[in-house]
Amino acid sequence: MCLAVPGRIVSIAGDDPLMRMAKVNFGGIVKDVNLAYVPDAKVDDYVIVHVGFALNTIDEAEANQVFEYLKEMGELGELEDAGSSGSTAPR
C-alpha cells in the first residue's frame, strides 16, 4: 500500500498550486503526477511517487550514503568480494 516509486520529472504544467501536474518518467513509462506537495520540484528532479502524488524530491547527495556508510564505519576491509559483476557506483 505504501509502495512509492522514483521517477524523473519530464515536464510541468498548470498554475494552480493544488493541481500542479507533471509528466514523470518511470524507467520509460510516463505518468501524470500531482506536484502539490513538492512546490519546489523542477524539471529533471527525481521525485518519489505514491498513488499519483509526489511525496518528496530525492536528495541526490544523500542517495550515495548507503554505499559510503560501511567504509565510514570501518566495516569494509578484508571482505571485499572479488570478481563481482555488480555496479556499486550509482549512476
Partner: protein
C-alpha cells in the same frame, strides 16, 4: 532504473550481510512495520542472509490487512445499492468480509471500480452526476495526503456526489501497542520509510526513549533494508535506543510540511479498530466535522453491525509479530491467495502472501545468495 537498481546490488548486499554478522553477538528480534518491506525481505531472501540469532518479525504494516471486517461489510453494502459506484485500490477487492468480498459483489452486478489514485474518483463523479461515487480510503500516513486532496478538491470544485469511507491508520500508536503488550518480543524497529516521508520522524523519538527501543527509518530495497538492520543491530549491541534515518535520500526529520498541512485540514486523529488486534486509541484518521458531509458512513446511514472472522485464521498474532505465517495450521492448505481465510493472505503486502509467494526451499536459493548481480 535510477534510484532502484543500485539498491539491489548483490555485492553491496553481501557486504552489509557480512557486517551484520560481525557486529551481532547476541540474539535480537527486529520488527519491520511496512508490508512493502516484508515483501522485499521474503522476496529477496534477506532474512536468509542474516545470522541465525537475528530474527525479523513482520508487523501490522498492511493497511488492507488491518481494515476491520465491519468496514468491508459496509463497503459491500454501499456497492450493492442502486446508482452507486464504489471505488477502491485493487488490493481491497478480495479481502474477505463476513459473508463475501467486494469482487463477489462486483460479480453479481455491483459497480466496483479499481482506481490508481483517489483523485481519479473526482473524474468518475463528474462523469456520472446521477450516481453516488464512494472511495474506500484505506491506508497509512503515506496515502493520507492523496486522500485528503481528494476530499479537499471535491469541496473546492463543488463535487457533491463524492464521499469517502475512511479506514485510515497510523503507525506510531500501533508500535506503542506492540511494545506495551505482555507478549512483546520486539527489541528494535525498522520504521516505514514512506510513512516518514510524509510525517517525518519526530513522533518516534519519544517512543524510542520511553521503551528504550531503537527505531531506524528504512527504505524498501534490499540494500536499504540490510543497512537498516545493520544500524538497528549496532544500536542494540551498544545499548543505544535512538531514532536513526537510513532513508535520508527521501526522508527528512520534519517530513513534508505541505502534505501534513492538508492532512490536518481534512482529517483529525481518532480511535481505530485494527482487524485482528482490536481498538487502539488515537490510531487513525477520521474526517473533521467541517468535512463530515463527505463521510460515506453518514451519507448512507451506515451503523455498526456484527461482523464475523474465520475462526481458524491467526492473522492477529501474525500482525503483532507473535507468530510467523507458516506457523498457522491453515497456511498454504486451507488458506491460499486463491481462497484466503484472512486478509494477510490476499493483500499484495500481507505477510502470509509474501511467505506463500516467495518462501524458498533449500533447492532454490534466494537471489542475493547467487553470485553476480
Amino acid at each position: 532504473m535510477k534510484y532502484l537498481d543500485e539498491y539491489r546490488d548483490a555485492t553491496t548486499a553481501r557486504q552489509y550481510a557480512q557486517a551484520i554478522a560481525r557486529v551481532t553477538t547476541r540474539p535480537w528480534t527486529i520488527m519491520e512495520i511496512c508490508g512493502g518491506q516484508t515483501h522485499a525481505i521474503v522476496k529477496f531472501g534477506i532474512d536468509e542472509l542474516l545470522p541465525g540469532t537475528l530474527t525479523l518479525v513482520h508487523g501490522p504494516g498492511c493497511p488492507v490487512c488491518v481494515t476491520p471486517v465491519d468496514l468491508i461489510d459496509k463497503a459491500i453494502d454501499i456497492a450493492g445499492r442502486p446508482d452507486t459506484i464504489l471505488c477502491s485500490f485493487g488490493d481491497m477487492l478480495r479481502v474477505p468480509g463476513t459473508a463475501k468480498d467486494l469482487l463477489s459483489a462486483k460479480a453479481v452486478g455491483a459497480d466496483v471500480r479499481i482506481v490508481y489514485s483517489p483523485v481519479d474518483c473526482l473524474k468518475i463523479a463528474r462523469d456520472n452526476p446521477a450516481k453516488q461515487v464512494v472511495f474506500f480510503a484505506v491506508g497509512f500516513e503515506t496515502t493520507a495526503p492523496a486522500n485528503a486532496m481528494a476530499v479537499y478538491a471535491a469541496r473546492q470544485q463543488g463535487i457533491a456526489n463524492f464521499s469517502m469511507l475512511v479506514s485510515h491508520v497510523l503507525v506510531p500508536p500501533a508500535m506503542q501497542a506492540i511494545l506495551s503488550s505482555p507478549h512483546n518480543q520486539v527489541q528494535g524497529f525498522l520504521a516505514a520509510g514512506h510513512v516518514c516521508a510524509v510525517m517525518g520522524y519526530t513522533e518516534y523519538e519519544p517512543i524510542a526513549r520511553r521503551y528504550h527501543t531503537p527505531i531506524v527509518v528504512t527504505g524498501f530495497e534490499p540494500v536499504d533494508i540490510l543497512q537498516g538492520v545493520y544500524m538497528c543491530v549496532r544500536q542494540l549491541e551498544e545499548g543505544r535506543a535512538e531514532v536513526e534515518n537510513q532513508y535520508s535520500r527521501v526522508v527528512r526529520r520534519e517530513g513534508n510540511p505541505q502534505a501534513q498541512k492538508l492532512i490536518h485540514e481534512v482529517f483529525e486523529v481518532s480511535p481505530r479498530v485494527w482487524r485482528g488486534i482490536g481498538e487502539i486509541p488515537n490510531s487513525g484518521y477520521a474526517l473533521r466535522p467541517a468535512y463530515a458531509d463527505f463521510d460515506a458512513e453518514r451519507r448512507f446511514h451506515l451503523t455498526a453491525r456484527a461482523a464475523e472472522e474465520s475462526s481458524e485464521c491467526i492473522a492477529g498474532l501474525v500482525l503483532q509479530g507473535v507468530k510467523k505465517p507458516d506457523q498457522c495450521p491453515a497456511f498454504g492448505t486451507r488458506c491460499t491467495p486463491e481462497r484466503p481465510l484472512g486478509a494477510p493472505m490476499v493483500s499484495s503486502e500481507g505477510a502470509c502472501a509474501a511467505y506463500y509467494n516467495y518462501r524458498r526451499t533449500a533447492a532454490e536459493p534466494a537471489p542475493l545468495r547467487q553470485s553476480g548481480g
